[in-house]
Symmetry: C2
Subunit: 272 residues, 2 copies
């Protein structure tokens, strides 16, 4: 029996109204309404990074934490925030656009239309691109002949695999991206003073390879008193986090579903 | 009759333990314990910017707001955060170190020991310094002969006064600082998605002069959908905000004070 449908999507998502303003726009009728009408099931949606945070909060490294920043290392660098033991979504559900904090004057246009965003120097897309370029330029690496024929997803997995086997070029790509993520996290720590930062999402598969470059950036860019107050952890949920989070989203709304069903059943009772 | 004493101070303040880790260190005995012992009154302390935010939340532009960022424009650029209708202080009470977010590679050493912090390009100290340098270099300004003989506080007031009268050099100094503050606020908006940003503290005296350069920076560095969701307001409390906030801090703890008194009066009743 299916209780409901949970959807995680990138983009500007208003979880309350069920509208994703970035993808699959459908007038003012949200994607949730559309799927609910077709399936007859209650449907809920949230931003992918918020769901990764929800998964970590309910089942992972952020459970029992009062304040946790969950970084979604993926094609962008997403952020879900647990503040005062609740998922924080901001005023319109747009909080956590970490990927687009303006950090560089690098002249690189970002997918968002701005330039110099964090993700222009640190996302897995950049890591994969740099791997392909490096191989094409003849870098000494076990990735030689392995990239460029498959999807970005497969190439990225190949980079992680090579890095895990100690390939110096692959490790250096993750170090470079990690250091930049760390510079962004230094800003986050100064603003939020979180208990823990959890590295989650697809990128968490590279595990401990992220820690030294990120810690290095924190050492350089963070007031020690602040950096020392924040733990840095790698998620064990990783790639599965978003899917777990989408299921958790339905569970979060379970009472709402029940009261809706209750209302329907009462309406179906004859009035006298 | 005095109910209690409220203290606002810059520095790393742990409001729960009453310890200021930056100034007037006194071993592990907090300044609050010390003053309480001397006066016999309950004493509470918080970071100056948190109190500015508390004042705005209880009596000012942040009242009735669910999420508000209160910027304390002063010798640094402080930040107090109202999140989900509560003052948010972070895991150790250190949240809001906005002044020290690492934003520049300008090679300027900051008071915190790092370099490139936001305040190295935008605090009122920098504005005052630049005014003095400009006058010494013979810039065309009504500030000529007015600066350098008095305190930074008086010189800063003179710059505000001149800017208010339309002095182009003085206006340009505030514009320059405002644009940098705006770049920092663009980061804040991407992370928090706040309902409103309130410009408060000493610097609020310059009023609407701050708005165009800050708005300009937001137009350049913020995703429009996010920038459009956040209002920008000048506080009417301004310079008084911190003092009002310190009084409000005592009121926030009023129940604690009452229950303490209640306990004492019960203890003074003979046991039979």
């Amino acid at each position: 029996q299916i209780t409901g449908i949970g959807i995680g999507m990138p983009g500007f998502v208003n979880a309350r109204t069920g509208i994703n303003y970035t993808f699959l726009k459908n007038g003012n009728k949200g994607i949730t309404t559309h799927i609910s009408e077709q399936t007859g099931l209650p449907v809920f949606i949230d931003n992918d990074s918020s769901l990764v945070a929800l998964a970590e909060f309910r089942f992972g490294a952020a459970s029992n934490k009062k304040n946790a920043m969950v970084v979604n290392l993926g094609w962008g660098i997403g952020l879900g925030m647990v503040l005062d033991e609740k998922l924080f979504r901001g005023n319109n559900g747009f909080a956590g656009e970490f990927s687009h904090i303006p950090l560089f004057t690098n002249g690189k246009l970002c997918s968002c239309g701005k330039h110099g965003c964090l993700e222009t120097e640190s996302s897995l897309l950049i890591v994969t691109e740099r791997a392909r370029t490096g191989v094409a330029e003849g870098k000494l690496t076990m990735l030689k002949g392995q990239l460029g024929n498959a999807s970005a997803e497969q190439d990225c997995a190949a980079v992680f695999d090579a890095a895990g086997k100690g390939d110096r070029f692959a490790v250096s790509l993750l170090s470079e991206a990690g250091y930049i993520v760390g510079r962004g996290l230094a800003i986050l720590i100064h603003i939020i003073n979180p208990e823990v930062i959890i590295l989650s999402g697809r990128g968490a598969a590279a595990g401990k390879l992220w820690l030294p470059p990120i810690q290095q950036a924190l050492n350089e860019h963070c007031i020690p008193k602040l950096a020392d107050s924040t733990e840095l952890e790698i998620s064990a949920l990783g790639y599965e986090a978003e899917i777990v989070g989408a299921a958790a989203l339905v569970m979060e709304n379970y009472e709402k579903i029940l009261s809706q069903k209750d209302k329907e059943s009462r309406l179906s009772v004859p009035l006298n």
